[in-house]
């Protein structure tokens, strides 16, 4: 991706992160397809690449591509925000290669070794077997080192350069993000304590620190893409931080209903997490309001030109506003109250929510950042949609929404038949899984998964080629 337009090494490093993230995104979808096929045809790759392995790769690739793209986005925006080149960029580049190499080794071990004997060596070198953070312990330490290096770069640059509200929020947020990973790096025989701390990593990432990160990136995007007023954008950002952390930190309690923890978590988890959609509504209004306001001001001046200087990126940012609210907010609220969660916990409901929330809240805005990087890398003034970008966004969005609807229906069957009617036993579980609505929903999930994957191919093609497309205004 060498070219003449990038005058910042930080931005160049960002493009590395984005490239690797996009490759992992493809891997995530591919292994997701394998797992989806196995629901429909259980014999597919049985004994070779079992569901558990496909799923580990599906969700680990998800987490890692997002972390890569998140690091990349920070390296991209730091020079713009602070006004100086990122400090420690050499270390940053070295850490990128260490991180990428470690990921490749971890993936190869998942693929070809898969499981180990029940002892500590497996935990250290093959898998920790804890959903989302299966990465073996050696890789955990590698991730900690890489994350610390990243946070150090961010802090050194943030302290020396101009400290905007966005940089301040990112600094506070990223150190919490890195620090929380430590909560998932120990072994205990007590599964209640195990899951108690496991949720510190998972929940406090995706329902607190990652959401605040998205708030900061959305703020940056609004300033760079439509020229929104910094003071207004940063005020919204602080309100969002207050609401996100105010509801999200104790909202952690909605994972403590049934894992052996005391009953008072019912109340804490229910009420705090019920407020979690509020900041997402705020973010939604914020993006659309600022867009309308800036465009309106432009039109008052008699201009009919769009204020958006990067159409595909802005499309993804607006989708983020919708998707975050719908996927994380609505689909999360569906089953967050303990009265409901008693029956929906551990069913395809969670899976439906997970698909739309990860996509809506994170994938969208990170893809948007990739487009911003393509624009900057190629020195484009006004970036337009191409056929591929429109096909990509339409197919990915309809695919993910389709999967979500299918999984929600499957979740209903599971809740009604397996849980409410049959009392959650082994036999009850398979009665639910054999129901017509369930099996049909799984067929639709596979079809929609394939649609998503084709959309991804369009997206990848567009990201690789659109920079040289003459439709854009240089």
């Amino acid at each position: 991706m060498a070219n003449n337009y990038l005058n910042s090494e930080s931005k160049q490093l960002a493009t590395w992160y984005f490239t690797f993230a996009a490759i992992l995104f493809g891997a995530q979808l591919l292994f997701g397809l394998v797992a989806a096929i196995q629901y429909v045809m259980p014999g597919f790759l049985y004994g070779i690449l079992d569901f558990s392995i496909a799923r580990i790769l599906h969700i680990n690739a998800l987490v890692v591509w997002m972390v890569f793209a998140m690091f990349g986005a920070v390296y991209w925006l730091l020079p713009d925000e602070t006004g100086i080149e990122t400090i420690g960029i050499k270390v940053g580049k070295l850490l990128f290669w260490i991180f990428a190499a470690a990921i490749v080794v971890v993936v190869l071990v998942y693929l070809f070794i898969q499981v180990g004997p029940a002892d500590e060596t497996t935990i250290w070198f093959i898998t920790e077997g804890r959903e989302y953070i299966e990465a073996p312990r050696w890789a955990d330490w590698g991730i900690v080192v890489v994350a610390l290096g990243f946070v150090a770069n961010l802090f050194l640059t943030g302290i020396k350069g101009r400290q905007t509200g966005i940089v301040t929020v990112l600094m506070a947020d990223m150190i919490a993000f890195a620090g929380l990973y430590l909560a998932g790096m120990f072994f205990t025989d007590n599964i209640s304590i195990d899951q108690y701390w496991w949720w510190w990593v998972i929940h406090l990432w995706v329902e607190a620190t990652w959401e605040v990160y998205v708030g900061a990136i959305a703020a940056y995007g609004l300033i760079t893409m439509i020229g929104a007023h910094r003071k207004v954008v940063e005020m919204w950002l602080w309100i969002e931080v207050a609401m996100l952390f105010g509801s999200g930190i104790l909202g952690l309690g909605h994972h403590y209903f049934w894992i052996g923890t005391p009953e008072y978590w019912w109340e804490i988890g229910a009420l705090f997490s019920a407020l979690e959609p509020l900041p997402l509504v705020a973010m939604f209004i914020h993006v659309l309001y600022d867009w309308g306001k800036t465009q309106g001001a432009e039109e008052e001046k008699g201009s009919t030109v769009s204020v958006v200087n990067n159409k595909p990126a802005f499309t993804w940012f607006v989708l983020n506003a919708f998707g975050n609210f719908l996927g994380a907010g609505i689909w999360g609220f569906f089953h967050t109250l303990p009265q409901v969660n008693l029956y929906t916990h551990g069913t395809q409901f969670t899976s439906a929510h997970g698909h739309l929330a990860f996509f809506g809240a994170y994938a969208t805005i990170l893809i948007g950042m990739m487009y911003i990087a393509v624009q900057g890398t190629n020195g484009i003034k006004i970036m337009k949609h191409t056929k591929a970008s429109i096909w990509g966004v339409s197919m990915i969005v309809s695919g993910v929404v389709g999967m979500t609807v299918a999984l929600t229906i499957a979740g209903y069957v599971q809740v009604l038949v397996s849980r409410a009617q049959m009392g959650a036993t082994w036999a009850g579980y398979f009665d639910g899984q054999s129901g017509l609505w369930f099996t049909q929903a799984m067929d639709w999930r596979l079809i929609m998964g394939a649609v998503t994957f084709i959309g991804f191919i369009f997206l990848a093609k567009d990201l690789l080629t659109t920079g040289k497309n003459p439709v854009h205004e240089k």
């Binding site: 105010g246 104790l250 005391p262 009953e263 008072y264 109340e267 804490i268 009420l271 705090f272």
Partner: protein
Amino acid sequence: MFEPFTDVVPSFFGWLNQGPLTLTIFLHTVIILPMIWIYFQEKKRLENEE
């Protein structure tokens, strides 16, 4: 209106949990109330600036 405590082990938070809402209302209140103090402090600052 108030339900007797039903948790296994008595604790401060369990004691606050007297039936639906009591614990959450308490926690929300202690989180939000100090913002009033921040509000008046900032109001004073803004007035002084002008």
